[in-house]
Each structure stands twice: as structure tokens, then as C-alpha cells.
Amino acid sequence: MSMKKILTVLGITAASFVYSQGRIIVNNYSKYDFHGFLITTNSTTGCYPRAGNSGAIVIPAECHMGNGLALVYEGYRDQFISSLYPTTNWEVTVNPLTSSIMAWDDVNLAPVSTIATTTKWYATKFDMTEPGTNISVQDFHTNLNIANPCSPGIIDYYVTPSGNNSAEMFTIGSITYLQLF
């Protein structure tokens, strides 16, 4: 690997700290597959712009930071190159009446774009399935969101009625974490 490429990768890593969109890391410690959506909203006021992956992201069972298989998104664009679970298209809503599908390399989603610099990861919708299938696990599906200017309620923890599985969403510094157990 050339030095140039290493510098590029490190550059991308460093640059991700600059923008308010921040990074999202999903750790799936559970024995089920994650099928879900990762959603951003305006980081300071109101609900727009907002964006989420178009088409569910699948993170297999037991993929997390501990084994190097976590989902790590550095931003709408750079995730496509650097993440193990790339999103090709984003559904972007700029106002209540206008939403569109944008490819990962759309100029409007670049790290310096208005959309990237004004939004922050804040919510998820997911459904857990038996590994390698589309068979949902009973009760292990929900929506979660951390504190944000769009919706007043905070639902950042979920536990299944059996108590066997749970999910938590939180931020540390500029990084948003979603963890499934």
C-alpha cells in the first residue's frame, strides 16, 4: 500500500472529526442479524434536512469493535469507501414536501456540503432476524432516538419483554453509538 493511500485514509479519518455529522458506530453483540436504518437530522434546529439509508443495512450477528467487524460510518460519502457495510443511496428530506434519493457520491452529500455539516446521527429503526435469514426475532425490533432538536422525546434504550435482548443508543464526544445485545 502506497504512502499516499495511507495518508488519504488517515486524512479521511481525521477529517471526520471536523464535521458535525460526526461518526456512527454500530456494535452488534447479539446472536441475531441487524436489519435497519440509520438516520440523521438537523443538529441544531428543526427537523430538516434529514437523511437515512435507502434500503436496509444488514449487520450480521456478533459484528462489533471487539472483532473489527463493527459498522463505522464516517459520513454519507466516505462510508461507501471505508465501511464494511456500505450504503449506496441515501434518502434525503430537505423540507416537509421535498425528499429525494441521492447516491453516496452526490456532491450534495460531500463532507463539506450543507447537508453533511448541518446534520447529526440521531435515530435508528431496526428489526433483528435469525442469522442469514429474514425471519424476525419476536419483539426484538424498535425505533430509538437520542436527544435532538426535532423530536422532544428521548427513547435511547430498549429491552425485549423477555429481558434477553436489549439495544442502546448514545453519544460520546462526536461519535454516536448504537449497540445491540
Partner: protein, 185 residues
């Protein structure tokens, strides 16, 4: 592309596998048992995650229990303390934000070593009360909140002095491992 993944994985793992400090409680007092909880929290930016021992409500370190006789409390991390410490904690209360609080068992992956919560917190404080050794009779003037000082998250003093004894909190780093000491005399 594979190499880029490998490099990014290395970047991530280098901070995923670091360790928060090791907690040591030395009770050098021969008159009083120590009873208290132990808290750790994030020191960069906000106070969260914030993790506090909750079962037992109060951890008891009997009088005359310290590193000199091998009876000190030593917590390597939230998990391994359960099997490695003389005074195990079964459950921890985990606050990931001011509005979110969850009770996690010692072996839950959310607080496991190498996890993001464990990595981002450091031992910070203890709410404690001294009891006459072997009894449930407290000495009301020997207790309180003590911790790393100054710390805007807890506001705890690093030293408590009473006519019955003293308590101090300090950190020592050797060979890249930080030890948080709570000592009672």
C-alpha cells in the same frame, strides 16, 4: 481495499482495547469498616457515560484491609472484578446521558473491557460511610463523597479529614497503567 480496511480496523482497535484505570481501595483504619459505592465516568467533554456500582448498594471493605496484607479492594474493570476481587459488585448502574439509566450485570457486554463504555470512563468517586468495625453503627462524621479533584462532574473533594480519621483519593500511573487509589486511615 482490503489493506485500507485493515488499517482502519487497527485505528479503531487501538482505542477499543485500551483500559480505564484500576481501582484500589485501601482501608488502613483498624477502627472502622468502609462501606461505599464506586463511580467511574467520562472525562472528555461530558460526564457521560457514568457508571456506579449498585449491587451491593454499599461495598464493604472491612477494617485493616489493604495492599499490605493482600485484603485491599482491587477492581481491574467492571467485569473482571466479579471473579478477581475480594469484594465483588454484581450490578452496575449505567447512565449514558442525563436522562438514560440502565442496570447492567457485571458480565453484560455493554460494560465489558474493550467496549466503548469501559474505554471511555475512568474511576472518579465514592460515596462512603465508615462503620464501627463489625457493626452496623455508623460514625456520622466520618463519611461523604470523595473523588478525583477537581472534577466538575462530581464536585467531590480529594481529601476528607475528620477527628476519627482521614480519607484521600489520588491517581498513580506506572507503566502506562493508571491506578486510582482511595485510602482510609
Amino acid at each position: 481495499m482490503k489493506k485500507i480496511f485493515a488499517l482502519l480496523s487497527l485505528c479503531l482497535m487501538s482505542y477499543a482495547y485500551a483500559q480505564h484505570s484500576i481501582m484500589i481501595v485501601n482501608n488502613f483504619s483498624t477502627t472502622f469498616d468502609f462501606q461505599g459505592n464506586l463511580s467511574a465516568h467520562n472525562y472528555s467533554g461530558s460526564c457521560y457515560p457514568y457508571v456506579t456500582s449498585s449491587t451491593p448498594t454499599m461495598i464493604t471493605v472491612p477494617a485493616d484491609s489493604h495492599t499490605s496484607n493482600g485484603k485491599e479492594l482491587a477492581y481491574k474493570n467492571f467485569k473482571d472484578q466479579f471473579t478477581g476481587s475480594l469484594y465483588p459488585t454484581t450490578n452496575w448502574t449505567v447512565q449514558t446521558s442525563p436522562t438514560s439509566s440502565t442496570i447492567r450485570a457485571w458480565n453484560h457486554p455493554s460494560i465489558a473491557p474493550g467496549g466503548v463504555i469501559s474505554y471511555n470512563v475512568k474511576w472518579a468517586s465514592s460515596q462512603f460511610q465508615m462503620y464501627y468495625a463489625g457493626t452496623s453503627i455508623p460514625e456520622p462524621s466520618f463519611g461523604g463523597l470523595i473523588g478525583e479533584s477537581p472534577d466538575p462532574c462530581t464536585g467531590a473533594p480529594g481529601y476528607i479529614s475528620t477527628s476519627y480519621g482521614d480519607a484521600e483519593w489520588f491517581n498513580i500511573t506506572t507503566a502506562n497503567i493508571t491506578y486510582s487509589y482511595l485510602q482510609v486511615y
